[in-house]
């Protein structure tokens, strides 16, 4: 299978690889997937007092599309408010990266990672976690 140029770009030059201090109250961490399934994504956000995401980092164990999806997600997250971040849909990622059907689940994982990071942040700061729809896969 050939990869789109955007996937290759994110894969070769992944943005925002790294780790934020998960002990900090304004950092939310999402860890989704499982080693047995061949994909694990960890996505972290740092949020300021105005509910704006000031930093985002990821690390991913998975295929090229999974790495590209999470790299793209961190790019999109920065500067968004938490509420805006909640709106990111996996199909936006599919479209932007031109992922083929067999790679849609890699983008689903990225959406799950975003939501899971946001929920971690919410719970840490005394909000109710947002009920997520059942996983699409």
């Amino acid at each position: 299978m050939a990869y789109s140029e955007k996937v290759i770009d994110h894969y070769t030059h992944p943005r925002n690889v790294g780790t934020l201090d998960k002990a900090k109250k304004n950092v939310g961490t999402g860890l989704v997937g499982a080693p047995e399934c061949g994909d694990v994504m960890r996505l972290q956000i740092e949020v300021d007092d105005n509910n704006v995401i000031t930093d985002a980092k990821f690390k991913t164990f998975g295929c090229g599309s999974a790495i590209a999806s999470s790299s793209l997600a961190t790019e999109w997250l920065k500067g968004k408010t938490v509420d805006q971040a909640m709106e990111i849909d996996n199909m936006d990622i599919v479209e932007e990266l031109a992922l083929p059907p067999v790679k849609i689940h890699c983008s689903v994982l990225a959406e799950d990672a975003i939501k899971s990071a946001i929920n971690d942040y919410r719970v840490k700061n005394g909000f109710e976690p947002i009920q997520l729809e059942k996983s699409h896969h």
Partner: protein, 413 residues
Amino acid sequence: MLYLDNLQIMLELPIYLDNNATTPMDPRVLEAMLPYFTNKFGNAASRNHSFGWVAEEAVDYARGQVAKIIGATEKEIIFTSGATESNNLAIKGVYEMYQQKGNHIITVVTEHKCVLDSAHHIERIGGKVTYLQVKPDGLIDLKELEDAITDKTILISVMYANNEIGVIQPVKEISAIAHKHGVLFHTDATQAVGKIPVDVIADGIDLLSFTGHKLYGPKGCGALYVRRKNPRVKVTAQIDGGGHERGMRSGTLNVPGIVGFGKACEIAMEEMASESVRLAALRDKLEKGVTVMEETYVNGNTQNRLPHVCNVSFKYVEGEGLMMAMKDLAVSSGSACTSASLEPSYVLKSLGLNDDLAHSSIRFGLGRFTTEEEVDYAIEVTKKAVTHLRELSPLWEMFKEGIDLDSIEWAEH
């Protein structure tokens, strides 16, 4: 890095290291085939003019070359479209022919899909199949094999060497057990013929499948060996028609393919001894070179193994992602992400490998045209890619922090 750049200048990229999937054709094979596409185009079954005779003569000659590499005689070779067809014919053909004797066959979970699916077919039409498990090194347990034999067993089918890990089964011992119980022994020797010595007499083989394109011959041409003496074995044809190949496989013979297959066998026989020594040394160099990295594991038995293949798991990186980083190397992976089924390699899983290690595996398959410079380059590219991906891997980070990954509750999906 400079070293890499220097190497790269001398190399033509990408480098082909997937010789267990298929091999490039040897130019000498192509040369032998060419006349049979054009002026020597006859149908080998045309008995009444010289076009037919020329084709028939070429097929007879090739049949001798193909027979010789496995120690058989010409009359024991049935030409097919490849090992898939040969395996189908062997398993279904023996089942149909010997149904009166019994309805049970024995095979192994690590067989190629075409053997396993033929076995499933036998089950669908009322037969019984035992699928033997393998030990963690990929070899079968001979006692388990013998215990599985019943008075209804008519066939044991065990591959000579495995396509993913290269492990060579104890074929002589298996055939001895089969014959002790009056059971026929078939082996899928697709990966072995032309790479290591295979001899149907010494090995006690009753039926053997192999194919041209794994030994520097053309695709779409293979053979089934069917023993004619001690015992005389018969298979029921699966393709009916004009009665070619002594009625066991109808269809106009693929003359250029057969000529090429024959030539490929002849060359392989001549060069096997030196080629296998050269490739084993290169393979060992590659294997040593990449396993100096921590948390890398060689899959399968390394004592009884084909000389040109190694299968390595690079823990904490995922195989498809890894192949993408090794884009100048053509290799294959047991990762699920490379297959439509999203299931990692069943061969690696049957060794007892955890799914995560199966997902992290790469198969390197060297071949006749692999050079030492290519191996050196492959080592550097692989190390660089694994290091890059481990920097991206949350699992690697956790491992480095001493976190037990098994203690985490993963959200399975």
